[in-house]
Symmetry: D2
Subunit: 346 residues, 4 copies
């Protein structure tokens, strides 16, 4: 088997401090389904980190189930969710949103980011359309931070989206599967309290950000789904040994770890981007975070793939392919150097 390094940001297990906590508490007995003290403390730490003491916090296992559960809970039957055409829910969740009965209304999005204008124009077109009562009603807005293409919404962009959502009475939901990598990026100017202030609901990714698994859903103010726990159960999204989620997020938030955990990924990605650029590779300019997209000649790619298992993103023409390199909290600079050694042009 070839080295899978850089294939994704979920190739390793858990951050040592997360794993350590699981090991130390392993023999304890606690009630199931998140009705334990670890889970309560994790929720409390997240409320504090987000500056929203009234927030309701729920812990789920994975991203697709989180998106489906949240979106299903917020939409009325004939409503759909507006999203970027590259959004995870539109492309890589096997129709999980449609399985709940809802349309993903896919909108053009430069660099994977949905602009306030796009949302506003699409909704204006809907409200001006005489046939709108025969059409799927815009019911909420889904964004990812960072996006699936590694890009970041700026605070200004997010505030513009919020104003449009307010004007249209649309809940705004942010998928933070890779949120730690946004927080670790120098270009980022959106903090956790900003997200809590500007979104109606968002989730803080654990799976890709140092946990074995787990995502924390935050309703910063009002719980828009009164029986959200039961909605989770109905989606098969309640973990029996719920404390495992509490323990992991407690570890991630106990001492501000979540704010730092993405730094090794950022350093590794920056090193990789810098070196590849220096060697004349075409690094796609959009992503400043832990995903590095490079347009490579197919012969260079073939060479690389003798050693590494890499993520093919897109064939751009017969002789070039865009490749994604993904770094994580566990990536070492030495891993990057090994990768670079494999590539011609050093």
């Amino acid at each position: 088997m070839k080295t899978p390094a850089f294939l994704s940001d979920y190739m390793e297990g858990a951050h040592p401090s997360v794993l350590d906590r699981l090991v130390r508490t392993n023999q304890e007995k606690t009630p199931g389904y998140g009705a334990d003290d670890y889970t309560n403390r994790a929720a409390e730490l997240i409320r504090a980190a987000c500056g929203c003491p009234e927030a309701e916090v729920f812990f789920l296992v994975g991203g697709t189930q989180t998106n489906a559960t949240v979106i299903d809970a917020l939409l009325r039957p004939s409503e759909g969710v507006l999203c970027a055409q590259t959004g995870h829910i539109a492309v890589h969740e096997a129709g999980a949103i449609e399985a709940c009965g809802h349309k993903t209304v896919e909108l053009p999005a430069a660099g994977g980011k949905l602009s306030a204008e796009t949302v506003r124009d699409r909704c204006a077109a809907f409200y001006e359309d005489g046939s709108r009562s025969h059409m799927v009603r815009p019911g909420m807005v889904y964004i990812s931070q960072p996006t699936e293409l590694g890009t970041l919404y700026s605070l200004e962009e997010l505030e513009a989206l919020r104003r449009v959502c307010d004007a249209l009475d649309l809940p705004l939901y942010a998928d933070g599967a890779r949120l730690a990598y946004a927080l670790a990026c120098p270009e980022n100017d959106v903090t956790l309290p900003d997200l809590a202030r500007l979104c109606d609901v968002f989730y803080i990714g654990g799976t890709k950000c140092g946990a074995l698994f787990g995502e924390a859903v935050v309703f910063p103010r009002k719980l828009r789904a009164p029986y959200f726990f039961t909605d989770m159960k109905r989606h098969g999204a309640v973990l029996a040994k719920g404390r495992l989620l509490g323990l992991q997020f407690e570890a991630l938030f106990a001492d501000g770890l979540y704010g730092r955990i993405g730094q090794p990924a950022q350093q590794a990605a920056d090193l990789l981007r810098g070196e590849l650029t220096r060697r004349g590779y075409e690094v796609l300019p959009d992503s400043p975070t832990n995903q590095v997209f490079v347009r490579m000649k197919n012969e260079d790619l073939a060479l690389l793939r003798e050693t590494f298992d890499v993520g093919l993103w897109e064939k751009t023409d017969d002789s070039h392919t865009v490749v994604r390199f993904c770094t994580s909290w566990a990536t070492k600079l030495q891993d990057v150097e090994e990768l670079l050694d494999t590539l011609p042009g050093s």
Copy 2:
């Protein structure tokens, strides 16, 4: 917080050998979604233990999501699943099956067990009904081994169900959330190879049987759902770090551990049943496995609840309540003695 011991069989973490394997491999890098060697080996071990070398094996996180994914994959749109009225899918999954568009056809079931006669009679009534084209068609049969009431299907009962299912062309699906506790019970005469021979699909429970989480779905012969992995994804039931499931089931099946892991639970339950009976408590006779149901006077219950958090099963009259005590692979005989010390009548 009161001692939650005996509240359920998912209060502890993982069996030491499971945890150890997770710890030792934590820093390794593997591809996601189960495309790793640990997962392959776990599937191979399960095939061997079940005596079905051609089986397709899939690993999911929890029981409700497993049931919903399997049942949704096997039924046609207007079909329903026949089950005991006490079946988990009928009572405690918050409508997860209906969320997939399918009716749970709830049938009377003594001791939580669906009999071959009940299935046969219900289907006969359906096929004799002139309005059957307006009715939900029986599409599959769901059973649990052990049942939600701790009882066991005998091999003879299971073979009778199989014959009825063959005659009616109905797939038979067994929910093995607590399967290790069946295997550890002296009364049990149904082996893993028996299950594989008699069911079209079943799952081997990990969550309650020594894993942190995880359930292994086995299609012993023919994969009745050609895109089952994608069906899993659509249900939010694919774990990103899929190897975590492979590692755990590898540990559970590497040296026959799964066949033994329920023994401490059985010993503890037997001790509890014996002592309670000796002291004059009314132990309900049906369950021979790790769930002990006791009809208690409310004053005894009140005393018990000063120390223990216990599972109230059913009020039988104004002065009595049925209480469930659940033992697990991690229960110690000393735990039982502490419980017994709390109860009057020693």
Copy 3:
């Protein structure tokens, strides 16, 4: 083909005054989807007949689609609808409610009627159950007036249901597929204004009561589903030539016809019940309306079936069968006499 008379109450076309109106307006041009004056007037007439000037009225084509659309619009994702185990939605709609993602919570019901006590007790059991967050939440109550067994809720029974629904904050929904036959029955003491006062939503059946097809949904006070028209569209329940529904209900309500249209059915049913009883047949006592249930010896039934196509309801033992005779607005007393002539014992 044998005479199908008495097989159901939807064997004929439309009442002459309904048909006449369709014929006279056939060449007119009107906008689609119910945005026409006929539909507006029909709604106005229904509001007047129900004494609820603020009501929202919608016209759909058939009963199953009406039930599915209303119930789907009113329930939250993890809620179910409480109904009699003999309720149409539970038995004869091929899982249409489950297809919307919701459980039909089937309750015991004497004579097809759900009692206030049954609803109260089931909900009390739910709210006392420590596992209720894992269970389908009672979200609304479905009844039929008359029921599927021809019985009637008395005003007192309906008021008791209303009080229970108020106490539990549950919407009460009445399926009036055969409502005209309730209104024509001397035993009935529930008027249209009573229904409007006591239900959150109900429908006035057209298909079985003189229309070619059509059901009028009435939300007497508050529209509990803000985008109900779009919900209808999503269920395929919007008729393109919507005026056809308006025209028919205008005819049915223009001069109080709906209150009288069931009388021929009542007279025919009463004649049939009386004569059968006089001849020693076992007429089941419950139904006072247009459905007559008779327990017959199989040899009498065989004789009858030489001439008539009849509805077999239930085999009660090896030598007897319950047969349903259904009369309609179009049944003539002479039809009953022909039926009686076929039966022995005259």
Copy 4:
């Protein structure tokens, strides 16, 4: 109220021969749900007209319910339906397909037509994508004949689609809501037998083509959904007085009426197109059938709207709007002249 002429092709009632048949049979008694001789004969006539004597034919009420029922019956859970981005199911059915749990995969389509190349390329991209097991699988192809934009698939185009569908093992489904207008168009070279030969399932529209309502679904060879009637029931798509559908289609197919019924619409549309062009209006070139799309100056439109209620299709800039004029089987040339009289430039 302004004259709604040209607003749609479902503004009138039924063709006189359809209505006459409903009137003449009104008092007859027949069994419900389509189990009557009229329905059998209608199916037989359709089989003959389509040249597919083995076909299974089902009658439903309206287009959206037909599309949802057919598509839901043919797709597996994680499959989606490929369609033009302007397809009725993608735009104007309020998410009815998603309500069944399936994604409408919207593809670019010139003039509303999905090309064989587009389908092939999209599926090729899917099969080449390493992440395809996380994506909605292409499960069938939906087209409309004529399309929502009035255009027609040529026989050559349809055969090319068929070849692609064969290569990909995808069922091809044609929505024939306006099929009579295709058959009446001189440009059309696709006959009913062609459709039957090239599609796996299609429907023959009644609602817009001379019936009060009704659509006939034809599975020309193999019934791909073994319990399609029950699937219909589950979708609320079974008409109780099923003979009404049989009677209407019997009238439409008894003497080849369906092949001629669109001719008045074609003549009216041709007259309108010709005159508008002659007067210098910008008639959009694509549609040769009964839908006429005209780009008008807003001041001309304002004048027109003083008298006529017209269908606004699209604002193309601040001073121009595309307007749709729809003719029907009931449109008279005099109607067109009245419309033309209203417009400046005569």
